[in-house]
């Protein structure tokens, strides 16, 4: 049974890999009635613009752009498969502090996609100043997805767990709400659903998925999940995609590459050239999130008027 699930998840992953690159693939090439026949589906007129695609048989084919239809979302993996993770991957994030001006688009996107209770945030953007005479800078934080996660160590019921691809997730169907993990996390990254998270019925009725962290449930802990559902689809986490300044880089350490969508770097070179570091290295938590120091900045540090706002007022400031 377990083997079966494993192999399913691998197949799904391979499919996801095939989809990577953002190409939409047309389903069901082998059916008798040509799917490209305008009569077969929605009535679309050929645009004349051709797109090259790789068929499932490995041949390069040309299709009129107008006939491309997006594939429906891949089914979510089971929570058992979600505990194992994506084989052969070790995810990491690089946050370039020289590019951040606290627009908080990352936060908005994250809150929206994970349906987080209003007022709470999984991504926080801190105004930091290390000493009296040093320069202030903005520091966004996500979950650090530590390799020695203190939260996982203390969880009494294995509700929060570390996967083989490095991601730390929460099973909200198992969490007993003791909040020991919140006390244990030195990065204050975890939030608690003190009341019903105020979801629409449609969202609240979904079965909980560890990979999407949706729907959040009353009396359980939530936190940044590195969006493994997006990663399976070959897309970037929501915060990475939402940042207009390309602050966040995401990628696989085993492939040694990270990307913010428009730029891609070799991870080891980026960390070496820009003197990347991790937060609270002395605690031995071994985070998967790396920071590039705020040098040669794209923006001056401007503190907004907002005092710990609950919403993103920064929109007006951009």
């Amino acid at each position: 049974m377990e083997m079966n699930e494993k192999s399913t998840s691998r197949r799904e992953f391979l499919t996801a890999g095939l989809l990577a690159g953002g190409l939409a693939v047309v389903a069901g090439c082998s059916s008798k009635k040509s799917p490209f026949d305008p009569e077969a589906g929605d009535l679309v007129a050929a645009s004349g613009e051709k797109v090259k695609l790789l068929s499932v048989d490995g041949e390069i084919i040309e299709v009129d752009k107008a006939f491309l239809k997006p594939v429906p979302d891949l089914p979510q993996v089971s929570n058992e498969a979600a505990r194992i993770g994506i084989p052969g991957k070790k995810f990491a994030m690089v946050i370039d502090l020289s590019r951040c001006k606290s627009l908080k688009k990352c936060q908005t996107a994250c809150n929206h996609m994970h349906h987080i209770h209003p007022g709470q945030n999984w991504i926080k953007v801190y105004p930091m100043q290390d000493a009296d005479h040093t320069s202030p800078y903005w520091q966004p934080t996500t979950c650090m997805h530590c390799d020695e996660p203190p939260c996982v160590k203390v969880c009494p019921v294995d509700a929060t767990f570390k996967r083989q691809d490095g991601i730390v997730l929460i099973d909200s169907d198992r969490c007993i709400g003791c909040r020991f993990c919140m006390a244990a996390c030195p990065y204050s990254t975890r939030v608690f659903n003190w009341e019903e998270p105020g979801l629409t019925k449609e969202i609240a009725d979904k079965p909980y998925s560890c990979e999407t962290s949706v729907p959040q449930k009353k009396g359980t802990v939530g936190k940044c999940d590195f969006c493994p559902d997006m990663v399976r689809k070959g897309s970037l986490p929501h915060c990475v995609a939402a940042c207009p300044n390309g602050v966040f880089f995401f990628g696989d350490m085993l492939e040694d590459s990270v990307t913010n969508g428009s730029e891609t770097f070799r991870f080891s070179d980026l960390i070496k050239d820009k003197a990347g570091y991790r937060l609270m290295e002395d605690l031995g938590t071994k985070p998967s999130v790396y920071y590039l120091p705020p040098v040669n900045r794209n923006f001056p540090f401007e503190k907004h008027d907002e005092e710990d706002s609950t919403e993103n007022k920064s929109k007006s400031k951009s």
Partner: protein
């Protein structure tokens, strides 16, 4: 002559019906419990949002109340086990008081920890998915063990007393008589039976000491296994244990006074007991003070950056009033009162005991919450209400209700069973007489 004296002891120590005062006391306690229960129902339906706890102050007075209960329950092991094994006899009349404090406190510790859970409906996950590496699971194991050993240490010495009470059928109501026969009708005062229980009590007295140390050490590790300033301390186990013995002994002083004056036990709980218990409390307060000096002076000398904000908050900042109140009432004042011979008379000793207990409750609050409000990274991107913690009425009601519940258990126990062991008192008097001859 001897028989008469024995008869007198039995008459003095048999449980008494509640008088008017007793009834009012019980009614008040029940009312507080009911209010607490209503508050908990409110919390169950709305969620923990009814508390003042939020993402930073994620543990509040439920947890400090839990630590308080675990702490006070340790006195059972001190009086029954440590003093018994060291062959100290003056504490015999106090053993049952200490043991019932232990049992009721550890019961309510378990209840209050369930109250703190976000999903009490999933409590069974601890058994279904429990992982041995989590200090919470250690706590569940040792607290359960401690509870059962304490129950047995309460029960075994009760057996001969049950037989005595069964003899005095006219003094008991029907259901109490049934209860006594259910619990102790097999007891025939046979020498073999005494031999077995003596052995069992000895074994339990030895086992309960490491278990008692474990419950409070593990409780301290719920904090000390994290990185946070104020908790990240190797001193924590010993610091908690010494504080626990102090608050438990303070609690015994209070209980001694109340039982003595209410049940007219002046012959059995004497000035001498207050004198000796008072000295014990002074010693324990000094010991706890010593660990406090270690706990605060050493980091304050260095003032490492993460510690600095926390320590300043305690010494001169937001938490300074409660911090100094707790230190003064739980240690300094009781030492000043009990160090003098006059201060160890029943009434002043009772006052000192109350100070110890109240101060210790606030001390637990000081240990739990201020640390959480001084995280490594500054508090950020949360509503303004998340920056502070002051318990809501629901939290107060539940905590006070749990304390009232613990007192209620002790009160009912003293109503049903002799709070001073009858059989042991008789034996000791006889031995005393024998020694005289």
């Amino acid at each position: 002559m001897e028989n008469l004296e024995k008869e007198q002891i039995v008459q003095d120590l048999l449980p008494q019906e509640f008088g008017k005062q007793g009834k009012i006391w019980v009614a008040c306690l029940i009312a507080l419990c009911v209010i607490g229960f209503i508050a908990y129902c409110h919390q169950l339906s709305k969620g923990l949002v009814v508390t003042a706890m939020r993402d930073y102050a994620s543990w509040g007075i439920y947890i400090s109340n839990f630590v308080f209960f675990v702490a006070i329950s340790l006195v059972g092991s001190l009086i029954t086990a440590v003093l018994r094994l060291t062959d100290v006899h003056w504490s015999t009349p106090l053993t049952r008081i200490a043991e019932i404090i232990a049992v009721s406190a550890i019961t309510f510790a378990s209840i209050i920890i369930v109250v703190d859970m976000g999903r009490p409906d999933r409590f069974y996950n601890l058994f279904l998915h429990g992982r041995l590496q989590s200090p919470i699971v250690w706590d569940v194991i040792v607290i359960t063990t401690y509870f059962f050993i304490s129950i047995l240490l309460l029960y075994f010495p009760l057996l001969p007393d049950l037989k005595i009470m069964l003899k005095y059928k006219d003094r008991t109501s029907k259901w109490m008589y049934k209860l006594y026969s259910f619990l102790g009708s097999f007891w025939k005062d046979k020498p073999e039976q005494f031999k077995i229980t003596d052995k069992a009590i000895n074994i339990l007295s030895i086992t309960i000491i490491p278990v008692a140390f474990s419950i409070h050490t593990v409780t301290s590790w719920l904090f000390a296994t994290t990185y946070r300033p104020g908790w990240d301390s190797t001193n924590f186990g010993a610091y908690f244990i010494s504080g626990a013995f102090l608050v438990g002994s303070g609690g015994v002083l209070v209980a001694m006074y109340v039982f003595r004056s209410h049940y007219n036990l002046k012959k059995y709980i004497t000035y001498d007991h207050f004198d000796k218990m008072g000295k014990v409390v002074v010693m324990l307060a000094l010991l706890y003070l010593y660990f406090n000096v270690n706990e605060f002076l050493v980091p304050a000398f260095k003032m490492k950056k993460p510690e600095e904000e926390h320590l300043r908050g305690l010494f001169t900042g937001e938490f300074a009033p409660i911090f100094w109140f707790a230190i003064t009432t739980s240690m300094l004042l009781p030492i000043l009162i009990l160090v003098t011979k006059k201060g160890r008379r029943p009434f002043p000793a009772f006052i000192a005991g109350i100070l110890v207990v109240i101060g210790s409750w606030f001390k637990r609050y000081i240990i739990v919450t201020p640390t959480l409000l001084h995280p490594f990274l500054p508090m950020r991107d949360v509503p303004a209400s998340y920056h502070h913690y002051f318990p809501t009425w629901e939290e107060w009601a539940i905590c006070i209700g749990s304390l009232a519940g613990a007192l209620l258990v002790i009160t009912f126990f003293a109503r049903i069973f002799p709070i001073i062991p009858i059989h042991e008192t008789i034996t000791e008097t006889e031995e005393h007489e024998h020694d005289k001859k």
